[in-house]
């Protein structure tokens, strides 16, 4: 199989995506995944739902670049990035990253890396609906720091 990037409005079928990674070859011994879901709070505010906007075309190409960078840095057999857009409720999945590799450290690190780069590079924006109205989510300085931690030579 290999590597894929999807932007979709539908729910993410976690079991199916995980099964595809597991079936991606007999040399696979480790699958690490990350699943981001809508929390009921952000900073100090109660969240009711979120809506996600993106830059169609650029999002996909940025995510492919990130996946390619992960392939260049670690020995991985297959990788999937799926990001939802549109309206999502508390508890729903926002993003799925799954990596299949022969060894666990490669799988863990590349998955962690992809999330950090996705957070800082993919043109996606979240708007939160809360009891006081709606607001665009602010970007976090910590995400910039995490992303910089992967600069060559620092891990």
């Amino acid at each position: 199989m290999g590597f894929k990037v999807l932007i979709q409005t539908e729910a993410i079928d976690f079991g199916k995506e995980h099964g595809l990674l597991q079936d991606s070859g007999d040399s696979v011994g480790a699958i690490a995944t990350f699943f981001g879901t809508v929390r009921d709070f952000n900073e100090t505010r109660k969240v009711e739902s979120i809506s996600i906007e993106h830059y169609s075309g650029m999002t996909e190409s940025e995510l492919k670049k990130i996946l390619n960078e992960a392939k260049a840095r670690w020995k991985i057999s297959a990788g999937t990035i799926i990001h939802r857009v549109g309206k999502l409720h508390v508890g729903e999945g926002i993003v799925f990253v799954g990596i299949a590799s022969s060894h666990r450290k490669e799988a863990f690190q590349s998955c962690d890396f992809i999330m950090d780069y996705l957070k800082t590079n993919a043109p996606l924006w979240k708007k939160e609906r809360h009891d006081g109205g709606e607001d665009w989510v602010s970007s976090k300085e910590s995400d910039q720091i995490f992303a910089r931690s992967w600069e060559k030579g620092s891990y």
Binding site: E53, H54, Y55, I94, K119, W125, S139
Partner: protein, 83 residues
């Protein structure tokens, strides 16, 4: 023709998702922003020149004051918050 697109909070601040401007001669990004400011008001200049705003030409982030060509798409992106 150059297509301009504005996303998320930028779109709301400017009250504009996209607009097209006529292409008369090659111009740099900085000249484009000045032109918009003149046409649309100071607010536009201030918003688009903000340090936190990233610019993509044809869906690729640029960091320099690039020369724009006919038919290109210039996107103004506020800090991203996906994931």
């Amino acid at each position: 023709m150059i297509k301009l697109v504005f996303f998320a909070s930028l779109r709301e601040e400017l009250g504009c998702g996209s607009l097209e401007i006529e292409f008369n001669q090659p111009l740099r990004l900085s000249a484009l922003i000045k032109q918009l400011e003149k046409k649309k008001g100071n607010h536009w200049g201030k918003v688009l020149a903000s340090e936190s705003v990233k610019i993509a030409i044809n869906k690729e982030i640029v960091v320099n004051d690039e020369l724009l060509s006919d038919g290109c798409e210039v996107a103004f992106l506020p800090p991203v918050t996906g994931g």
